[in-house]
Amino acid sequence: MGKVNTKVTLCGIELDNPVVPASGTFGYGYEFAELYDINCLGTFSFKGTTKDPRFGNPTPRIAECTAGMINAVGLQNPGVDKVISEELPRLAKCFHKPVMANVSGFSVEDYAYTCEKLDKEAQVGWLEVNVSCPNVHGGGMSFGTSPEAAAEVTKAVKKVTTKPVIIKLSPNVTDIVSIAKACEEAGADGISLINTMLGMRIDLRTRKPVIANKMGGFSGSAIFPVAVRMVYQVAHAVKIPVVGMGGVSTAEDVIEMMLAGATAVEVGAANLVNPYACRDIVADLPRVMEKYRIESLSEFIGGVQ
């Protein structure tokens, strides 16, 4: 077999490959740009950004788990104005492709406000709207747990933006398909899933939760099968593209996600353990494609028999 083609098109924008570091595990890119040329990535989703600056939750915010971790960072970020004035110019120096802007909020108006501002930024290619953060109260996930609320956020954001809007969904729901469909009907250009699964650890010595916020989002390779299942379910129920994520750490995982129906694949917790994880996955993709006789990744999306 000759040259393989790793290009995919996500909501009208071509990516050199489907590998996308997930929001919250890649900052605004420049920490990783010190380690390798991050232009090898398809794109990346930057740290979840809100209207106002946020410190996030008290520490400890991190807990070790078997084949994964729990985080309860709580959307720490400098707020949209500083992201635009300070983080994006710094990002532009080390990354020269369209970037995915990840947005969170505490009201429908918050989401619309932040998305409208980021939509005007030249480098922003997509808006990834997080209606699924498990670590904040009265916001985030509460918008992603009912089809009506998710649709309301989608509509409000679509009304004030021009760029593709991808709604990031929570797995902590009874029926993710109905929520994905509601977003599609409300005008979403894509769906990304899954955010972390709500989890908890307890310290045997202190008999207290390890995480100060008691619970947090469970991620890492342990959740990969759940993510594949949900990506499969959603991809077969909607016509808009799906970005798959959850426990992806190898090129094989990327291909499995794509078989399930993902157009692009985000990599999260793996970046925290191996800072070169995404670079290594990108480099390994051609080998795995050849092994499984895949000439073109884009023709392979949703190819599960």
Binding site: G24, F26, G27, T59, I62, T66, Q76, N271, L272, P275
Partner: protein, 244 residues
């Protein structure tokens, strides 16, 4: 920061609970005392951050207390290799030490002060060290600090060795130009209150990545939010806000 494969040259006990491991590999990313390394262990998801006790161009020494799965696994290692991220964190600033710096370590907070003492003494500073432990059989590195030429005082909470009490009891009689400390947070807080000069504190926090990506170990300071793994673990006294 650099990722490297390090060979385990030594892994031996210094007390019942504390082990010394010497790792050989590329140390070029390590910039100075107060930094830490982050170690990948088989079967465990997150890396284990451990402070650097000593370092030269090709060897890193770490001292670690066996407290959980990760350090328990490390204790059993005899030779072999480890995947280590080096050059992490913002270490101690030696330029502020003055002529007579005081170094105060509590328990497993002692190790990073060893390399610091070595460097300060090499600069011709008159270094005093207070090492605080709970009890006699937990004491380590008293002789090693003496061998560097530091003036060493040991305190034990139960009075089984040295001065009975806390490190702050030993601080009372000391003259010093500046101080550097590392240890459990209640001790750091007591030193913050008891100290007569400015100084630098090394903090500990549960970390996700250890290199600034995940925001897992953030804290509030007078000069804004900081990540213990990136802008820390060392913070200057004037910057600290005690939250807990």
């Amino acid at each position: 920061m650099k990722q490297g494969i390090f060979r385990i040259l030594e892994n031996s006990p210094v007390t019942d609970q504390v082990m010394r491991m010497v790792l050989a590999g590329d140390c070029s990313a390590v910039s100075g005392p107060g930094q830490f390394v982050n170690i990948k262990l088989d079967g465990l998801f997150l890396r284990r951050p451990i402070s650097v006790c000593d370092c030269d161009s090709h060897k890193i020494t770490i001292l670690y207390k066996v407290v959980g799965k990760g350090t328990e696994q490390m204790r059993t290692m005899r030779g072999g290799e480890l995947d280590v991220l080096t050059g992490l964190g913002n270490g101690y600033d030696l330029s502020l030490s003055g002529e007579e710096p005081l170094l105060i370590g509590g328990g497993v907070g002692v190790p990073p002060l060893y390399w610091l003492a070595k460097e300060l003494i090499a600069q011709g500073k008159k270094v005093s060290v207070i090492l605080g432990f709970n009890t006699k059989n937990e004491i380590f590195y008293e002789e090693e600090f003496r061998a560097l030429g530091a003036d060493v005082t040991v305190t034990t909470v139960d009075g089984s060795y040295g001065i009975q009490g806390f490190v702050t009891d030993a601080m009372a009689g000391k003259q010093y130009s500046y101080f550097y400390t590392c240890g459990p947070e209640p001790m750091l807080k007591a030193i913050y209150r008891a100290s007569a000069t400015s100084g630098q504190f090394s903090f500990e926090e549960r970390m996700g990545c250890g290199f600034g990506a995940c925001m897992g170990c953030s804290c509030k300071t007078v000069t804004g939010n900081k990540r213990i793994c990136k802008e820390g673990p060392v913070l200057v006294k004037e910057d600290i806000i005690w939250e807990k």
